[in-house]
Subunit: 244 residues, 2 copies
Amino acid sequence: MMTIEASPLTRKLSAFVALSETELAVLERLHQRRKSFCAGRDLVHQGQSEQAAYILAEGWVVSYKIQPDGSRQIVDFQIPGDFLGLRSVLLHTSDHGIEPIVDIKAVEVLVSDLLQAFEETPRLATAILWAVSRDEAMVVEHLVGLGRRDADARMAHFLLELGVRLSLVGMGSRQGYACPLTQYHLADALGLSAIHVNRVLRRLREAGFVTFRSGQVTFDDYEGLVALAHFDPAYLDQTRPLLP
Amino acid sequence: MMTIEASPLTRKLSAFVALSETELAVLERLHQRRKSFCAGRDLVHQGQSEQAAYILAEGWVVSYKIQPDGSRQIVDFQIPGDFLGLRSVLLHTSDHGIEPIVDIKAVEVLVSDLLQAFEETPRLATAILWAVSRDEAMVVEHLVGLGRRDADARMAHFLLELGVRLSLVGMGSRQGYACPLTQYHLADALGLSAIHVNRVLRRLREAGFVTFRSGQVTFDDYEGLVALAHFDPAYLDQTRPLLP
DNA sequence: CGAAACGTTGAATGGTTTCAACAAGAGTGG
DNA sequence: CCACTCTTGTTGAAACCATTCAACGTTTCG
């Protein structure tokens, strides 16, 4: 039972909870306020407090924190179907900034609407809770990478994870994917200097694992890269719905 | 309107959502199956899939991931009032291990009971969603530390965050707190070698900032430490309830 | 007492950063 | 059209932070 065109979020949540028609309708009702944003202009500034979150419909977004010394740590990238700023809304302080990498389209969701939706269909709350937990699992994996993987494995793991995530929304495959990120993005995400990112990418390319060039990631040796990164996509993949 | 003795979780959630008596009752009903666990014996093994989560009532717990090369990355420490293994249950795969650091007491919560509770009182779902988001905020801060702070600031930030968290449940103050962690725990949490942790602690002690010795953390210069770590507790502190 | 866990210190090694330059492409205004 | 700037990518050499290896001290506990 699908609507003509399921939104990316609906598709994602349906993998976890078999949503009834009523619940789908409630979810669809949240997708009213469509908006567009330009690349580079912050959606949410670090420090301000917001009362609206967004669901990304199209484009790439980066969540980051600026340190007092000016350096930047990228927490995560969002792709279509992901929430933007939900944590800021719930915690009532935006501890991080959110910036579109390219021009994007997103749906504005007021907290009040979301909470109202929970009242109507508690199963939706469970589904959202699942989505938030999945996001946390990705952050945790990212954390492990920063703490205990060397630069090469970190890069390999990152490119693979992004590949799986994109594949789940039809934007990538085992061959590779289009990727608008710069080496500076990679550096700030992986806790490296841009210079070293360049060296790492060269090493991986010359070793025949993966090529990152002009907005395109190409997996030259997928299995080899998986082995190098010790990549296990279990935390990303939902094989079957948890709730009937 | 309080029960005789509010559980740590109830206290934490009440800071976010003003829970009605009905909701408090539902929450209390979750606190049935009390259990004890010994220090050092895993509650949840990495890889197995569980159907029960826990709410920590007493003691310290560590969540970690073991890397294929045998090294360990600690994701977070849990103190009373925190959830244990909720993410494992929701994602249906335990991507991490959970180990009591000391003997602990915890309450077992079946997913089914939790979801049932959501059906009865959707506001409780919102409160739990807040708690999960707060956990995620801590993981994010941890991630930033690993990516963009040097060893000294990382250590300082970690000790301060733990202090604030413990203060919120009455187990610490600006003077310091009792801390059962070893230097090995710190090393695995901060992505350092145990040897280097030792050096960092010595430096911080000799510089008059903080003393970590024999199970006791003592802040010798709280303000100085805050400055060194660029510590901002905004993400931990809930000044006022978000929901009436 | 002996063993095990935890803490402490020095010296050598190495991964990563910083500093300094240079190259290539895109967009802009003259 | 060209010069100009800005962004992104690339490379080398020196400096540094943190790790590894190795050893020893300390405390706890059966």
